[in-house]
Amino acid sequence: MSSTEIRTDAGGPATDRRRMRVFRFKRGDPGSHFDTFDVPVSAGTTVLEALRWIQLHRDRTLTMRHSCFHASCGTCGMEVNGREVLACVTTVANLGDTITVEPLSNIPILSDLVVDMREFYARFPDEIGITRRSEALPEASPPEGIEAFERFEDCIECGLCLAACPVSATSDDYLGPAALAAAQRLLEEPRGTDPADILAFADGPNGAWRCHAAFECTEACPSNVNPATRIMQLRSALVRGGRAAVPAEEVSRA
């Protein structure tokens, strides 16, 4: 069968091929290895679509996690050619002829490309609330002197920041960028929580002070949360004894 007779999962005719080196590991295996697959692709084929093609046409045991296909759910985080990305919005076009796909670093592997996110979620402060006061009504207008409201609940909890962080790479004890960014967000909008508790959460050798300002988390973040800058702001708040915390009623001006 020629490549032009194959249709990609994206629906378009295949115009090219890519060799996918895919990390494989199943529970009970003595170790991990890579499997290689030649995958038909078109110009807009994403890494996730290529992996689904492998799953559907070559190896049904390939395990991956995905859901929304548009970078909202954060479930398809993985490392492609060594870079932490969401596979659903990463096209294969500029990734070279051979594309290496691995699960996220620094998070335990469950199977193949699927990691155990429980440890990631367990890092977050207990005080994380559900109500989002700053999700302003469409008719709301910013106060005078403020250009626009800024949303700070953009974290999709994908884990890319934790995988990219060089400090998390050397220690599982470090709380990591996402949890600390969430703590800083709580300082901005406490939602009834005690800022002293949040500062206590972030303080200490495995909290904000363990960050080495490599800013890889910010580079990896697909949702513009900018965790590194938030950690720096958290440190500033810690140095000032929490005075950087913004009262909830003023958060719309943050």
Binding site: S105, P166, D172, A200, A213, T218, E219, N226, M232
Partner: protein, 147 residues
């Protein structure tokens, strides 16, 4: 204030924890240095750590060299003959690079890391890089003049 945990909860209790992929050569101690896919901040951090390790090594090397004084004037004079060779002086330039990079990057990290300019890490790196390069060139010329 409620009692807070010291680190990530549940790590020790989770007996069925799967393997963890690490960057570098696969062990945690090497995870901080893996150039694949890194950005400016990651490289800045890695070079900072490498120069830091180099400076610690140099400190002990320096003490060892100074101990030559205990062996008399001849030993020190012999060392000075080596120390003014081109090969040795080029190592001095390398040392100067390490000092400048570690020191200037330390200023950058301090300014960024305490929230003074948390959003300007790249601009600071380039700005201090220009200062460091000028100082390195000036220092290298000065060292070359003493050859």
């Amino acid at each position: 204030m409620s009692e807070r945990r010291a680190g990530v909860p549940g790590l020790d209790e989770r007996a069925e924890r799967g393997p963890v992929r690490r960057k570098g050569v696969g062990v945690p101690a090497s995870g901080w240095f893996d150039p694949r896919g890194r950005a400016l901040g990651g490289f800045a951090f890695a070079v900072n750590r490498i120069t830091g390790l180099g400076l610690v090594f140099y400190l002990y090397l320096h003490l060892a060299v100074l101990s030559l004084l205990l062996r008399g004037e001849q030993a020190w004079s012999d060392f000075l003959r080596i120390a003014t060779s081109w090969a040795f002086l080029s190592l001095d330039v390398l040392l100067l690079f390490g000092l400048l990079y570690h020191g200037l990057n330390g200023i950058r990290v301090a300014l960024v890391g305490t929230g003074v300019v948390p959003n300007r890490q790249k601009a600071l790196w380039w700005s201090l890089g220009v200062i460091g390069t000028i100082a390195l060139i000036g220092g290298a010329l000065h060292i070359a003049g003493s050859a």
